[in-house]
């Protein structure tokens, strides 16, 4: 009760942030999930964690509507005619975004922004200027669209995609984003060496140095996987989550391996016994908890029966999976290898911790891949692995499989070692690199690093220049200047700034090795 009043009286929350917090307070008055005692014990220990999803799942965590279909057919529910031109398309999309459910209250995916708008540009002679670039009027409209997304969705997990092909709209988006200084939308360029031209990739790298976005996704890898799962096409949502378009993920529950290393410390002496004992039990508990959250959403919440998104074919239950997240592999691997700070055996150095980390990851992958959800049809009920980036309150827990900040090896070794660790995470994994500001004179340097990373099995690559105001915290973006405002006690529009402040303090994000 007091917490509710505290929320109401809080002067650093905006009105919308208060509404979300109060909705959450209401949700917390009910506890409808049947959670087995051994699962609850691991939740209480911080080993299994639903990342603040709330006790009563009433909407999927990640919803990726089929926006192309929406633009094609309009919406009876919203009384939206199919738009006929760029202006109409922009308004229609901005209108629909307000109706996309999520945990944060804002859509985690705003679509393949270039592919959605390009047809409207190509069919309108007035929208294209000489040289195949947008006319000034169309360019302004695209800019206003992006600024509208930012204003309506002050949440750094709101994500849009570009590529793999170059388009007039895609190039205009990069031009705008490079100087806009806005954290939203988060952006990914899906990179395919066979389709993405070099100059488009370099323009994206230059934009990323200044604006910490777009990131690059390994398009051929994602595409092949989602095709083989019967879930193509895919998109990148939220931080870097690879998920089916027209569906998404019901939930994300993570297994905190760093915590497990503490709670099961006495078993670490024998890696085999640890893997078959405490690790297997924690994986089973995480899977059981995901099953239960999915069961409630699918069978009890009524979401799929009532949402107009389902009724109008923009999402379908058959295209929803669930995500099994892991975090803190580095800390567990170091504990298993008994590798003290500074040792050559530390995680990321190519020694014992790397070998043990890979073994742990392979074991988790095996167990998760073998599990079948009783409630979901997507991918035959298989849950998808996700390298979770952490939450602001984590201390001494590295995101996913990443090397702890401050222990990064030289760039090429780092890339070569991290690439294969990213491969099992079909639902996303990522790594972030801070580059010297001088990299702006040579964006090909970044493109080459990214290409080699993908050729080695890497999935997702993010970068920014060490002097840019926008900083990629773990998967999402915040502005240094906004964090400073928050520290001074001023309200800031973007809720993720609070998370960013925590991560600056607890993960040392600003101390990342600067690459040259």
């Amino acid at each position: 009760m007091n917490q509710t009043l505290d929320t109401i009286r809080n002067t650093t929350l905006t009105y919308r942030q208060k509404v979300l917090a109060l909705a959450r307070a209401g949700e917390e008055r009910t506890q409808p999930l049947a959670i087995a005692p051994e699962v609850q014990a691991l939740r209480d220990a911080g080993v299994v964690c639903d990342l603040n999803e709330g006790p009563a799942p009433y909407r999927p965590r990640y919803v990726l509507p089929d926006y192309a279909r929406f633009l094609d057919q309009g919406s009876a529910f919203l009384r939206q005619e199919p738009p006929r031109d760029l202006l109409g398309a922009v308004f229609a999309l901005l209108g629909l975004y307000r109706h996309i459910p999520s945990i944060t209250g804002y859509p985690v995916w705003v679509g393949d922004l270039d592919a959605l708008l390009e047809p409207f540009v190509q069919r309108d002679p007035a929208a294209l200027g000489p040289g195949g670039e947008l006319s000034p009027a169309a360019e302004r409209l695209v800019s206003l669209f992006l600024e509208g997304i930012d204003r309506d969705n002050p949440d750094s997990f709101c994500h849009g995609d570009l590529g793999p092909d170059t388009t007039a709209v895609g190039r205009a988006i990069l031009r705008h984003q490079r100087s806009a200084g806005r954290a939203v939308p988060n952006l990914t360029l899906r990179y395919d060496p066979a389709r993405t031209p070099e100059d488009f990739a370099e323009a994206a790298a230059l934009c990323a140095l200044d604006a910490a976005k777009p990131s690059f996704a390994n398009d051929p890898l994602f595409r092949a996987e989602f095709e083989s799962l019967g879930l193509a096409p895919y998109a990148i949502a939220s931080c870097y989550n690879g998920l089916p378009v027209g569906g998404g993920s019901c939930t994300l529950v993570r297994l905190n391996l760093a915590r497990l290393a503490c709670t099961a410390a006495h078993t670490l002496g024998d890696p085999e016994a640890f893997i078959n004992g405490p690790l297997a039990e924690a994986v089973a508990a995480t899977l059981a908890y995901i099953d239960e959250r999915v069961r409630f959403l699918v069978e009890e919440s009524g979401f799929f029966e009532s949402s107009f998104l389902v009724r109008e074919g923009l999402i379908a239950k058959e295209r929803f999976t669930a995500m099994f997240g892991i975090v803190g592999l580095a800390e567990l691997a170091n504990a298993l290898a008994n590798a003290e700070p500074g040792s050559r055996e530390r995680f990321g150095r190519g020694g014992a911790a790397d070998t043990l980390g890979a073994r742990v990851l392979a074991a988790i992958d095996r167990l998760v891949t073998a599990h079948r959800s009783p409630y979901l049809e997507a991918a035959g009920g298989r849950y998808l692995l996700h390298a979770q980036v952490g939450i602001d309150s984590d201390r001494g827990v590295s995101p996913g499989c990443r090397v702890p900040i401050g222990e990064e090896p030289p760039l090429h070794e780092h890339l070569a070692r991290q690439a294969p660790l990213q491969t099992p995470f079909i639902a996303g994994s990522g790594d972030v690199f801070a580059f010297e500001p001088t990299a702006r004179a040579n964006p090909g340097h970044i493109v080459d690093a990214m290409k080699g990373f993908f050729a080695s099995g890497g999935r997702y690559f993010s970068c920014y220049a060490a002097d840019s105001d926008l900083v990629r915290v773990t998967g999402y973006l915040v502005k240094r200047s906004e964090v400073e405002r928050l520290r001074r006690g001023e309200a800031v529009n973007n809720g993720a700034t609070v998370l960013g402040m925590g991560a600056f303090d607890n993960l040392g994000v600003l101390d990342r090795a600067v690459r040259r």
Partner: protein, 314 residues
């Protein structure tokens, strides 16, 4: 240099390898620094790759890791100190103790060995750059290294001071993807005072490479002479915007270089490098000054007007 070989392969004296670089040509490149140089530039940032080892042995006891021992022999070639890379802790004590300003960590390698060392970086590379020291002094090794890299799909740029006439090096011209050339001063006398060498060959190479379309980049370090250059150490103020000060004719160097590029229709980028004292030998650093940003802007403008295709300041 000598054609001494092992298993038919030319041996090179290698100072170090940087497997990943953003600043030595387009994209991501591995950089090979060869040991030894024929210039003695006042502002040299890697002085230990320049000076020859005299074999005095002073560094051997200075190494805390026992990584140094007398005499490395490979085939018919010897160098005075052998360096055990596995033992080295990269502390720098050896170079600091060297009375000749050299480094005992230079080693004899074949091109195959040198390229093996960048194997793990290969997926991330667009090419290699061979630098120094002055790499053209070891032309047999250099040519073999470039050819070996090309066979791996890594074209090679050559970073040179231009002191040797490249028109006389057909094998090198054929093996290299392109050249990066330093033009340190246009004025003869100024060049000699700055580097201890004549600039006739540099100017010939500039015109020759530009006309061949073989220039990727030309660089001039912008520095001002503190009072007392070539005489006594300087006072302490550190920047200046006066191009005449210290009598380095920076405007002439920049203008003439840009004009030469333009006349040859070269697309090479012209990089103006702001001198910074880091890494420069102390006694030399005291005689040079950093240029102010107004001067850098004026010279950039001059290079553009002279006709350089692209001017970069770094």
């Amino acid at each position: 240099m000598s054609g001494l070989k092992e298993h038919g392969e030319a041996l090179g004296l290698l100072a170090r390898i940087l497997p990943f670089s953003a600043v030595d040509g387009p994209g991501n490149r591995a950089v090979f620094f060869l040991q030894g140089c024929n210039f003695d530039c006042a502002y040299c940032h890697n002085p230990e790759t320049r000076a020859a080892c005299t074999g005095c042995g002073a560094c051997i006891p200075a190494c805390p890791a026992g990584a140094l021992s007398p005499m490395e022999r490979r085939g018919a070639r010897t160098i005075p100190v052998q360096w055990d890379r596995a033992r080295c802790r990269d502390c720098g004590a050896c170079a600091a103790s060297c009375p000749s300003g050299s480094s005992p960590r230079a080693r004899l390698v074949t091109p195959t060995e040198a390229l093996d060392e960048i194997a793990s970086a290969r997926p991330f590379l667009r090419g290699i750059t061979v630098s120094g020291g002055e790499c053209t002094l070891q032309s047999d090794f250099l040519v073999a290294l470039l050819k070996g890299a090309r066979n791996l799909g890594l074209p090679g740029l050559v970073d040179t001071n231009g002191g040797r006439p490249l028109a006389a090096e057909p094998r090198l011209l054929e093996a290299a993807e392109g050249f990066m050339l330093d033009v340190k001063a246009w004025n003869e006398d100024e060049h000699r005072r700055l580097t201890g060498a004549d600039n006739g060959p540099v100017r010939d190479n500039l015109a020759f490479l530009a006309a061949r379309g073989a220039l990727y980049e030309v660089r001039t370090v912008i520095t001002l002479r503190a009072p007392g250059f070539n005489a006594k150490p300087a006072e302490s103020d550190t920047t200046s915007d006066d191009p005449q000060e210290g009598a380095f004719d920076l405007e002439e160097t920049v203008r003439e270089t840009a004009l030469t590029l333009a006349r040859a229709g070269s697309r090479a980028r012209y990089r103006l490098i702001r001198y910074r004292p880091y890494g420069v030998r102390h006694e030399r650093a005291a005689l040079l000054r950093e240029p102010g940003s107004a001067l850098m802007a004026r010279l950039t403008e001059l290079a553009r007007r002279g006709g350089a295709a692209e001017v970069i300041v770094s």
